[in-house]
Symmetry: C2
Subunit: 333 residues, 2 copies
């Protein structure tokens, strides 16, 4: 891949904004698609995103901002999608540009709810993007700490190691260290599953469980994640690498994680609906829970996934969190 | 092992007090050795430990408290040692009772500094206790949460599964779940090593690193721990079980961990001596760091242990924490 490749980010939330910031450290120009006309105009006028990471100042000369997804898709060679999974399907429906020869990168933290596919699979099946053109960006990385330029590590996964390295280089800086991996499917699942475990951690906290229980929960979660991913895509991987365990920890221990916060409200007795209304948004892990459940239903021999089952029963089957966690606690070790 | 076996705890810190509380849920009588005459008298008069977990009330009828280590060693069949590793050598020197036929349990979180041996090895080598009579209690378990009766999990390791189960039963209750393991050496090393990683987490925090870095540090720590333990005692173990990973997390993420606090002061610029004076105690991990370093020095082919090396260089070689962590950050992934 040439060094002159043009990069673009699709989305304007905190993680999208953080990725644009990272790219601006290295690229002459970065394409940026966002749906909101207001956000675009504010950005151009005030040099910062009005709603997310607003402390990050951009040099507008360096950005090619548009509300037209096709304009940006046409402009760039490497397209990084950072739209919440709940909106990705409808956003992509606007896409008319042929992207089969472009590199498509997922920084979406979940599954496409409408199809039950990982974003990579979605691009492959619906948009005919070959697998070697599909990459994934995984953390552990809170966007807020990127804004503060606190040292963070990313893993870029792609079947094509050269492409992975090119993207890694484009994102690297004084405060971003990168490594590459060939486990595209595994890292995408890890990114999705961690949010379910963060909801579980939140529920536990809301119910009054303490730090001892939380550490047992996380220790069981990483073992469950390993089983789940192995069933979907068997290969040699060290589940304790940062892209899996690190990402689980930064989300499961974060008091700022929206998924953990959502779980906490559920644990404290809010209904799913009232917790969602209170947060005025839907936590990624909410959809991921259903997707993970459905995926396991399809397995001939089901994977033991006690934690995901408990979260599913609470969120989708109306089960009482307290009782469900008493049952779960018996299964953990 | 008969159900009538008598249990005793040696030590009067917070973890010792928590273990006495657990035993009192099941045993008619529990022996309790403590060095301090004042603590003994206060306990008998006020029904609680004056210095640690003082919210826990004991039924004094249920306790056989003594300042004479031999009286308690003589009384009990199962001796649980919970003395800080820095004092265990001198405490044990008082022991004249033959303990070769008793079950000896280590809940000491470190290595005997004078001999560089794990407590189990120390009992075997110096006191001729056969290995099948030696057990280890591992967390993840903050004593403070035991006091609050928050659900916690313990792992009891012993070569003799029946003994492990007997001890597990003696500690189990509504709020304590137990499992057994045959990895005595591995769990003892894990208990010791986690404190070094907690110091590392504290140093990182003191230096201003954030949550993203912390999760990468923990992800690297568990891999390093696995390598270290494998070198000392190769067997099939899942390093992500609660006794290893869970215990690492509860310590590494705890704001109340003395080791993390000590590290935090070092990261903020205190010298080792002033941090120790300020805390009016020595963090277990301080000794563990030296022991782990010495153990690795003796390995023919050294284990890569970047985090322990960095902590060692800072605590024992006077290296600058900031520079040392910049070097360490390059090696993590």
């Amino acid at each position: 891949m040439s060094n002159e490749l043009k990069y673009a980010v699709f989305g304007s939330g905190s993680w999208a904004t953080a990725i644009v910031k990272m790219l601006c450290e290295n690229q002459t120009e970065v394409g940026w698609y966002m749906r909101s006309v207001y956000t675009k105009e504010h950005l151009i006028k005030e040099q910062h995103n009005p709603s997310y990471l607003s402390s990050v100042e951009f040099n507008i000369e360096q950005l090619k901002i548009s509300n037209d997804i096709n304009e940006i898709a046409n402009y760039a060679d490497v397209l990084i999608f950072v739209v919440p999974s709940a909106f990705i399907y409808s956003e992509l429906e606007k896409l008319t540009v042929d992207i089969t020869n472009k590199t498509v990168v997922s920084a979406v933290k979940g599954i496409v709810p409408e199809t039950g596919l990982l974003l990579g699979e979605h691009f492959h099946d619906i948009y005919k993007v070959p697998f070697q053109n599909i990459a994934v960006i995984a953390g552990p990385c809170h966007a807020e700490e990127v804004a503060l330029e606190r040292l963070s590590y990313l893993t870029i996964s792609c079947d094509d190691a050269k492409k992975a390295q090119h993207i890694a280089n484009a994102l690297s800086s004084d405060y971003i260290k990168t490594k590459i991996s060939d486990d595209v499917i595994g890292t995408e699942y890890a990114v999705m599953l961690k949010n379910i475990y963060a909801i579980a951690a939140g529920i536990a906290h809301g119910l009054g469980y303490g730090d001892n229980f939380q550490s047992v929960l996380m220790s069981n979660a990483i073992r469950e994640m390993k089983r789940f991913i192995k069933k979907k895509h068997k290969m040699k991987r060290n589940i304790n690498n940062s892209a899996y365990l690190g990402d689980l920890l930064v989300t499961g221990y974060s008091l700022f994680s929206r998924n953990r916060m959502f779980g906490n409200m559920i644990g404290k007795g809010y209904t799913v609906k009232s917790a969602q209304m209170e947060m005025s948004m839907v936590a990624e892990g909410y959809y991921a829970t259903k997707s993970a459940h459905l995926i396991n239903q399809k397995n001939k021999k089901k994977t033991k996934m006690y934690i995901i089952d408990a979260v599913y029963n609470i969120l989708y089957e109306g089960k009482d969190p307290k009782k469900e966690f008493i049952k779960l606690a018996e299964k953990l070790d």
